[in-house]
């Protein structure tokens, strides 16, 4: 009898699991409007990685074809280079950015002139590292990305801290991440 009951639980859970089959590839998935945040906190070190389709950031995913487009990439990179604009950390935690790396798409010139433009998606990736003197005070982080990049509708955030691993779905209205 136990087995049948267990079997039933197994069946229902595995059926449910089927729906989520594709979720594991989430970091690779490229969905316009959605972005990813990976946040890890250990000791006094806070690391944040932000991955977003270029569509959310600048509104196109090809090499800049005119001056305006080149400028919008430049200004996006400038914004991404200012972690204090993107993340609101509690001031009591006393965090200072120590590493900022922004990897815009189309950074490399085509190998040879006239090369076929690949029709692959392009992404912005940026990495930040903060040093926090009172990391224990770091209970939540305000995510201001929505304000600066209006093409972003949702951010899937995964975080690791001493309280464990968790994932949260953030939107412009619900833009606070609990650690």
């Amino acid at each position: 009898m136990t087995r049948t009951k267990r079997g039933f639980i197994v069946l229902s859970i595995s059926l449910a699991a089927g729906i989520y089959q594709t979720v594991n590839a989430e970091q690779d998935a490229h969905i316009h409007g959605e972005a990813h945040l990976l946040i890890a906190l250990e000791g006094s070190s806070l690391q944040i990685e932000f991955l977003s389709p270029a569509m959310n950031i600048v509104g196109f995913e090809h090499r800049p074809q005119n001056e305006t487009q080149a400028q919008s990439i430049e200004s996006a990179v400038a914004t991404l280079n200012q972690p204090n604009l993107l993340f609101k950390l509690p001031s009591t935690a006393q965090c200072n950015p120590v590493v900022v790396e922004v990897e815009p798409p189309f950074n490399h010139e085509p190998e040879h002139a006239g090369a076929e433009e690949s029709d692959e998606h392009s992404e912005f990736t940026s990495r930040y590292q903060f040093q926090c003197q009172e990391a224990a005070r770091l209970e939540r982080i305000g995510i201001e990305i929505f304000r600066h990049f209006s093409g972003t509708q949702a951010i899937e955030a995964q975080s690791i801290s001493s309280s464990g691993q968790r994932s949260q779905e953030l939107t412009a209205e619900r833009n606070t991440l609990d650690l």
Binding site: S12, G18, Q21, V23, Q27, E49, Q165
Partner: protein
């Protein structure tokens, strides 16, 4: 206060109907709390099963799938991963420890897990608690086994006994690895996790019993004895999954990406905490449905009370009239009838709590041994108090309906009741 004691006495006078209402409220309250408790505790038990593991790695499938078969022993793996891939990740400079897991065999309906001694060293459950031994110690030789507490208890095994492992995971398997029995060398303490129902053997043991087997069948005429098997190379060729602990949690996402991008084999690395949360998101639909059903049952209980109170009002016009004649004002009548409802709901809640704790006391050992779910007997959680408060308030509000009717009656009827 006098009104409440009057309400109590009036209820006592109608004790048969009153006790029926009490029963229905009490049962519905205990059902509501019981469902809530099962929900919370099953979540806890899932969450407590794995602790301190940074990544779970297996063949590429779904995150929840991998978590379920590797950690909770629910369902089956879609594919194996090669030993060489495992070694190359285990030797990664950022990896502190790994626990290899090899599933697929069983013993009397209990899953057999092939692993190594790191399992007893690094596996953590609940809040970073280590496995400890009830008797004996970890295995040291190929044909030795360590039993989970429940497996040992259910099968009544002791240290030194020899057990035979069956091929496959069914309860009644026709293919047994009879020629290579395992000696029980250790029994673990209860953990309240699937570990309790697991038979642990060394990876080499799994390899040894499958020597001379191809595709789940023993080759005819090819018998390899237990001793002969020992002389062969018992390095496993494949694994089901493995758990990874990292030197720094900061590296988690980076190592996860490296494993997911591993060139030689399609691998999947998941964050167990995140996968568990995805599982909850799925389960919450069913849980909410269950909660709605129990809430409806409580509503039915309260509506039953309303029906009885309203039906009783007509018979009680005379009682009300007498009360009025001795100086009770209409609002006293309102208080009396509403007070009765409130009293009924409160006593119903109290009896419901008694039923719940009585039920927990009786069901606890059964649920633990059959479902591996430990139901602690603790005071109601804040959420449960909130539910009880909601039931009590609803009882009061519903009591206002017959109360108001009685109030109107007593105004209209006055003393002019005719019999």
């Amino acid at each position: 206060m006098a009104i409440l004691s009057l309400a109590f006495k009036s209820l006592l006078n109608r004790r048969f109907t009153a006790s029926l209402i009490l029963l229905s409220i009490a049962l519905s309250v205990s059902l509501l709390l019981g469902v809530e408790r099962l929900r919370v505790e099953s979540r806890n038990s899932f969450a407590n099963t794995i602790s301190g593991t940074d990544l779970v790695v297996g063949a590429r499938s779904g995150a929840i799938n991998l978590l379920l078969y590797s950690v909770f022993r629910i369902g089956d793996a879609t594919n194996n991963i090669s030993w060489s891939s495992y070694r190359s990740i285990a030797d990664h400079p950022k990896v502190a420890w790994t626990i290899p897991l090899s599933l697929g065999d069983s013993h009397m309906g209990f899953r057999v897990l092939g692993t190594n001694r790191d399992y007893f060293l690094h596996y953590r459950y609940s809040s970073k608690r280590r496995l400890s031994f009830h008797a004996g110690g970890p295995f040291e030789q190929v044909y030795q086994t360590v039993l989970g507490y429940e497996a040992a208890k259910a099968l009544n095994y002791r240290i030194g006994q020899r057990i035979v492992i069956a091929h496959g995971t069914g309860k009644t398997s026709f293919t047994l690895h009879e020629d290579k029995p395992f000696e029980v060398v250790g029994i673990l303490n209860p953990t309240g996790t699937p570990v309790d129902r697991t038979v642990h053997v060394p990876l080499e043991g799994i390899e040894a019993i499958h020597q001379g087997w191809i595709a789940g069948r023993q080759l005819a005429g090819l018998q390899i004895s237990a001793e002969q098997a020992l002389e062969r190379d018992l390095t496993p060729k494949a694994l089901t999954a493995f758990l990874v602990g990292l030197k720094s949690k900061l590296a988690t996402f980076q190592v996860q990406r490296e494993i997911n991008d591993y060139r030689k084999e399609p691998l999947l690395a998941i964050l167990p905490g995140v996968a568990l949360q995805q599982l909850w998101d799925l389960m919450s639909v069913a849980e909410n449905a269950l909660l709605v059903v129990t809430a409806l049952v409580v509503t039915i209980g309260l509506v039953g009370m309303l029906t009885v109170m309203l039906a009783g009002l007509n018979e009680r016009r005379r009682e009300m009239a007498i009360l009025r004649s001795v100086g009770a004002r209409p609002r006293h009548i309102l208080l009396l009838v509403t007070g009765e409802s409130l009293l009924l709901s409160l006593v119903g809640i109290a009896i419901g709590l008694l039923l719940l704790y009585g039920g927990l006391l009786v069901a606890q050992p059964y649920v633990e041994s059959h479902f591996g779910l430990y139901l602690p007997i603790t005071l109601p959680a804040p959420r449960e108090w909130f539910m009880l408060g909601l039931v009590g308030t609803s009882g009061l509000l519903i009591g206002l309906i017959p109360g108001y009717r009685a109030y109107r009656y007593s105004l209209a009827d006055g003393m002019n009741i005719r019999i």
